[in-house]
């Protein structure tokens, strides 16, 4: 029988005082388990609060290492763990906060191959991933295992949260049957995110997970929370189960895990899976510029040009490209660049579709140019 020791009675005192939790609830939390997918912006507060709350077993899935650009928002990591595996960095911090829990670290991408074996046995999934393929995968795994999936997602100043519990309501696919085309909605790596935003949304996810494990309160199941940090607004959308949902509907057509990267049309885990045939390196571009005069097309946002710039480049932000194609000449060589080479690749695909052929993509973007050609420029 699960019990608390003297130190745990003291540690969880403020929970034990709440009638809705009490000793019974705290023991429930100790007996429960939660799987956190991703230990980034959302995963940081989720993992910290679940650890502090005394969830008995917490699984962490991530394959990345801690980078200094993470620390603006991923508060579970620190300067001391730069370069270390994120799951190890997070696990050490969680056990430092609460040594009376078990943290299982899975240093691997969450994929259709390993997802069921990782997730089986957990009571709840918390989706803190940063890409569409893994979001659909997390959803489908939760549906197949019959456990709730606590959803959170962020972009710039916008956050979304819900509880997708297909046994009792809609799942992620009921709301978003298919992802948007990759070029329509930029990712945080491309569009940025306010550092504190995942703190708000991740804390809401942790709250919902703890409530679900305790069996108390009204969850966000059947409701999507829309938060905007600029307006400090909280809005809701009522969600209904889609009887035609391919995974949780009346006649599901998806009954096992699929190829999620193909389904979403984007690579989920490795940027190096993007097509490279159009790429040129920063050093190759330097040679080209010494001998010819291609158009350097910068598809970053205008304010990013204050951070770093390549003189002589023309700026058309990616979002404006479709409506400003007439400013470009199909006969001219065009080298497209952005910060790291993702947006420029989408721009390149758009220009290919519009009949342009003399195109190159600066591999690694202006950050690679700063690293390999012009060290006076900052890398951001």
């Amino acid at each position: 029988m699960t019990t608390l020791n003297d130190q745990e009675f003291m540690r969880y005192s403020r929970h034990l005082l709440i009638p809705e939790v009490g000793l019974e609830g705290q023991l429930k939390l100790k007996e429960s388990s939660a799987l956190v997918i991703g230990t980034g912006g959302l995963g940081s507060p989720v993992a910290l609060y679940l650890a502090a709350a005394g969830i008995g077993r917490i699984g962490l899935v991530d394959y990345d290492v801690v980078d200094s650009s993470n620390l603006q928002r991923q508060i579970i990591h620190s300067e001391e763990t730069l370069g270390k595996l994120k799951v190890d960095s997070a696990r050490a911090r969680m056990l430092g906060l609460n040594p009376f829990i078990q943290v299982d670290a899975y240093n691997e991408p969450f994929t259709a191959e390993n997802a069921m074996s990782i997730a089986t046995g957990y009571d709840i999934i918390i989706d803190g991933t940063d890409n569409f393929p893994t979001r659909y995968l997390s959803n489908d795994v939760a549906v197949f295992l019959g456990i709730p999936n606590v959803y959170g997602s962020i972009y710039q100043f916008d956050g979304q949260a819900s509880v997708f519990d297909a046994k009792n309501g809609p799942c992620y696919r009921c709301l978003f049957p298919s992802p948007p085309p990759p070029h329509l909605v930029p990712s945080c790596a491309e569009g940025g995110v306010l550092g504190v935003l995942p703190g708000t949304i991740g804390s809401i996810q942790a709250t919902e997970a703890i409530k679900m494990l305790l069996g108390i309160g009204s969850s966000l199941a059947g409701r999507l929370l829309l938060y905007n940090a600029l307006d400090m607004s909280f809005d809701y959308v009522n969600l209904k189960k889609n009887p035609k949902c391919p995974v949780c509907g009346e006649n599901p057509t998806i009954t096992e895990l699929i190829d999620y990267e193909e389904f979403c049309g984007v690579p989920g885990h490795h940027a190096d899976e993007l097509p490279t045939e159009w790429d040129i390196s920063a050093l190759e571009l330097k040679d080209i510029l010494a001998n010819s005069n291609p158009l350097l097309l910068d598809v970053r946002e205008a304010h990013e040009r204050n951070i770093s710039n390549i003189p002589g480049s023309k700026n058309i932000p990616f979002g404006e490209l479709a409506s400003r194609l007439s400013e470009l000449d199909t006969a001219q060589e065009i080298v497209i660049f952005c910060r790291t080479g993702n947006r420029s690749l989408y721009a390149l695909e758009m220009l290919l579709g519009a009949g342009f052929r003399k195109l190159k993509n600066l591999e690694g973007g202006i950050n690679a140019w700063a690293s390999d050609v012009n060290p006076m420029l900052p890398i951001y």
């Binding site: 991703g38 569409f132 962020i154 972009y155 100043f157 978003f176 298919s178 990712s187 969600l239």
Partner: protein, 90 residues
Amino acid sequence: MPIIKIPTPLRPHTEGRRELELEGKTAGEVLDALCALYPVFREHFYEENGELRKFVNIILDESHIKDLQGLDTPLAEGDTLRILASISGG
């Protein structure tokens, strides 16, 4: 006139505008007015048969228009439609 709110990820396509007041008596008419103003949305939002694409979620108050009358959902003066963007950041 009804108002349509543009989610942050789509604002690069609307010159940064957060919301627009557009003519229309139904959700479909307001979306048509938006597409007339910013044609990039037409190919993004609609299938070739004229139906909204699956990833496009249009919300009136707290309800999805597919749970109302779809594109035929009537709008009153001052009603606010919201385009719900699918975002993936974490």
